[in-house]
């Protein structure tokens, strides 16, 4: 029973991903683009996941500033890491698709450029986290950046509407039903993958914090026995 409770999300993710993969390879090919269009079943869900992850980062950042509960900081950081990975995947899948369809890997197209910059915005967020040693200061500074960085999300999303470009605008209503179902299944599968990765990363982040606190407390006194190092465990008191 405990095993089921612990791994139900993973099991569900595996099933849905398997179903999505099966569907992606067996659904009829696009009339115009042929098999290369199947890359969209990875590209679109990756982009969706990146948006989702960064919105969760913003929510975690706001919640940390309001509550100072370390869980929210862990949520923001973990979600940003996953978001960066899937932004990279979305860009990569888009480039692979663009080569045969547009004739080149990269074009100076608003959605591409804004997505690449979104990638760098959150790389900056992660770099900021690495640059601050104190966990409370790190959470505080990262939370501010997590909120400000979210300004970029609507710009990426609406870029294809604001600037007329090569990139396909939102096409929810113009896709054939079997392809739309496959795409939605892909989105669902990637959302489950996100939930699994997020849960694991949160556990890992919690363990990292405990390890960091223990190492800090085990370190020898830096200024003699008269001065003791502050306890990082206190910073985790809200856990």
């Amino acid at each position: 029973m405990t095993m089921i409770r612990r791994f139900w999300l993973e099991a569900a993710a595996v099933l849905i991903v398997a179903g999505s993969l099966f569907r992606s390879f067996t659904v009829e090919a696009d009339v115009v683009q042929g098999d290369v269009q199947r890359i969209m079943y990875v590209h679109v869900p990756s982009a969706w996941l990146a948006f989702l992850a960064f919105v969760v980062t913003m929510i975690g950042s706001v919640a940390w500033l309001r509550t100072r509960n370390r869980r929210w900081d862990r949520l923001a950081a973990s979600s940003a890491e996953i978001g960066v990975v899937f932004t990279g995947l979305a860009i990569l899948a888009g480039m692979i698709w663009a080569r045969p369809v547009w004739g080149q890997f990269w074009t100076w197209e608003p959605r591409l450029v804004t997505t690449a910059l979104l990638f760098f915005v959150y790389l900056g967020y992660l770099a900021l986290r690495r640059a601050v040693v104190d966990p409370v200061q790190r959470a505080q500074r990262a939370a501010i950046m997590g909120i400000v960085a979210a300004v970029q999300i609507p710009i990426v999303y609406y870029s294809v509407n604001w600037w007329r470009s090569l990139h396909q605008a939102s096409s929810r209503n113009s896709i054939d039903t079997p392809l739309r179902i496959t795409l939605l299944l892909g989105v669902l599968a990637f959302t489950f993958v996100y939930a699994v990765l997020l849960r694991r990363r949160l556990e890992l982040a919690h363990l990292e914090e405990e390890l960091e606190a223990r190492r800090f407390e085990a370190s020898p006194d830096v200024a003699g026995a008269g001065i003791t190092a502050p306890s990082l465990a206190k910073a985790n008191k809200h856990d």
Binding site: L65, A131, Q140, A143, M145, V148, V151, I155
Partner: protein, 222 residues
């Protein structure tokens, strides 16, 4: 002391320090002008090409070299200075607003200083130039806001000079797009209102975020 009086004093302090060192006027602006002189040597000195590319290159130089305005010495308060301002009971929001005003004015100065260089070297089409009185301050305010937020979160970090540009440049994308597209719109005789709205909306979003975050920002560097 009222809120706006605090804002005035903080901005005045930053501008006073800047006036003593003249870092923006005597170092950053000539550096940006040198970049505008050197770029044609790399991309070609064809006059029509430079006329087309000039405004875009100008905004790129403003954005990238504007980082140096953000990182200037007068924008950095040491620990004792921060403690003194805190002990004086200065409202964090007033401090943020004052620092933003000072940085924005200096970015505007930088933009204005590079303007004649652009006109002289690139001979751009200046149709609808009065709109620049609106575009330049909107970009300067955006850069000032971004710079003050990024400087705040990187204060006292060893990697500040590397990290601040990484945080500011990608986030300045809407400013760059708004400015370049508005400029292009002027040349083509089209409407630039949507781009001005974009610049204004970004400035507003950053101002609200910055003011709300000013308290936590103050705590973060304690």
């Amino acid at each position: 002391m009222t809120f706006w009086r605090q804002v005035y004093e903080i901005a005045r302090k930053d501008l006073l320090v800047e006036s003593r060192t003249a870092e923006v006027a005597l170092m950053t602006a000539p550096f940006g002008a040198a970049a505008l002189i050197m770029i044609p040597l790399a991309i070609g000195t064809d006059a029509p090409l430079l006329t087309d590319l000039g405004p875009g290159l100008y905004w790129i130089v403003v954005l990238l070299f504007g980082i140096l305005v953000i990182l200037r010495k007068s924008a950095v308060d040491g620990g004792p200075q921060r403690d003194l301002v805190r002990l004086l009971g200065i409202d964090p929001a007033a401090r943020f607003t004052g620092a933003t005003i000072a940085t924005s004015l200096l970015v505007l100065l930088f933009e204005v200083a590079l303007g004649p260089v652009l006109v002289a070297l690139y001979n751009p089409d200046l149709r609808g130039w009065p709109w620049l009185f609106l575009i330049l301050p909107l970009v300067a305010i955006g850069m000032g806001l971004l710079g003050t937020i990024a400087s705040g979160v990187t204060t006292s970090l060893g990697t500040r000079t590397s990290l601040t540009p990484l945080l500011v440049v990608p986030l300045a994308l809407p400013l760059l797009l708004g400015a370049t597209q508005a400029f292009e719109g002027l040349q083509l005789g089209g409407s630039i209102v949507p781009w001005l709205v974009l610049l204004f909306a970004v400035d507003l979003a950053l101002a609200v975020s910055g003011i709300l975050a000013s308290g936590p920002l103050e705590e973060a560097v304690t």
